[in-house]
């Protein structure tokens, strides 16, 4: 079972890992390419890349989707065997779906579907 974390800003993957106060956490099974539970929304007390890294380790997160991330934190996470999809510009739900089905790649820019609306 894999666990995915996405720092978000509104409907989108947060532009910067260190400035996000809102996090989505989802569990999925990569063998079947599906979520195994409803994604959770977590609101952090303040934006902090160090606290976010600590949370990723504490919660045994296996995959992170983010926009910009400092090299120091990228290296730390990959050293901890976390798969980091960085430089993603996308609606977080679309990026999550692609990560779950194994088709997301770092650097992807996913245009917003027409008629897209704010998720709750």
């Amino acid at each position: 079972m894999e666990k995915l974390l996405i720092p978000v800003q509104g409907d989108f993957v947060a532009q910067r890992f260190d400035l996000a106060t809102e996090i989505i956490i989802a569990e999925f099974d990569k063998n079947i390419g599906k979520l195994t539970s409803e994604p959770k929304t977590i609101i952090m007390e303040r934006a902090s890349d160090d606290e976010l890294c600590q949370m990723i380790v504490d919660l045994n997160i296996t995959d992170v989707i983010c926009g910009g991330i400092e090299e120091l934190h990228y290296n730390f996470l990959t050293w901890k065997k976390v798969t980091v999809y960085d430089s993603i510009i996308a609606n977080w739900q679309t990026a999550m779906e692609k990560a779950v089905d194994g088709t997301l790649q770092s650097g992807e820019i996913i245009p917003l579907a027409k008629g897209g609306q704010l998720d709750t």
């Binding site: 929304t41 977590i42 609101i43 007390e45």
Partner: protein
């Protein structure tokens, strides 16, 4: 349809962390709550006096009056008002103290939005049943 979507539960959130307050307030509005946000203990007391909400979500650490002081004042003036305390990591004892002083419950930060919403709905149901 969830309880808060049906009844438009009015929630006051008091926290001095502005980013946290804005993010939480926005998410809760998107879930159908009527949300008012304030960033100090004094402003929380003032806001409740002006327009009493259904439920108050109160941070423990604020610069003027801390959450426990605000809770005591609110319970003195509005005994039926339900208050949920937000505590930082490792503030388990303070959360317990809040419950002893009449808080409905406490939740640790970082906040799981669904967990907080569940607690707010429970607090609202309790207030309505009283």
């Amino acid at each position: 349809m969830k309880l808060h979507e049906k009844e438009h539960i009015r929630v006051l959130i008091a926290d001095d962390e502005v980013e946290f307050l804005e993010t939480l307030g926005t998410r809760m509005k998107l879930r159908g709550f009527e949300v008012t946000t304030v960033n100090s203990g004094g402003a929380a007391i003032q806001a409740v006096k002006q327009d009493t909400p259904d439920v108050v979500v109160l941070d423990l650490k604020m610069p003027d009056l801390n959450g426990l002081e605000v809770l005591a004042k609110l319970k003195e003036d509005f005994p039926a008002l339900e208050v949920i305390i937000l505590t930082g990591q490792g503030s388990f004892e303070a959360g317990k103290e809040g419950m002893e002083k009449g808080a409905f419950d406490y939740i640790m930060k970082p906040v799981d939005l669904n967990q907080l919403i569940g607690k707010i709905e429970e607090a609202y149901a309790k207030a309505k049943a009283a």
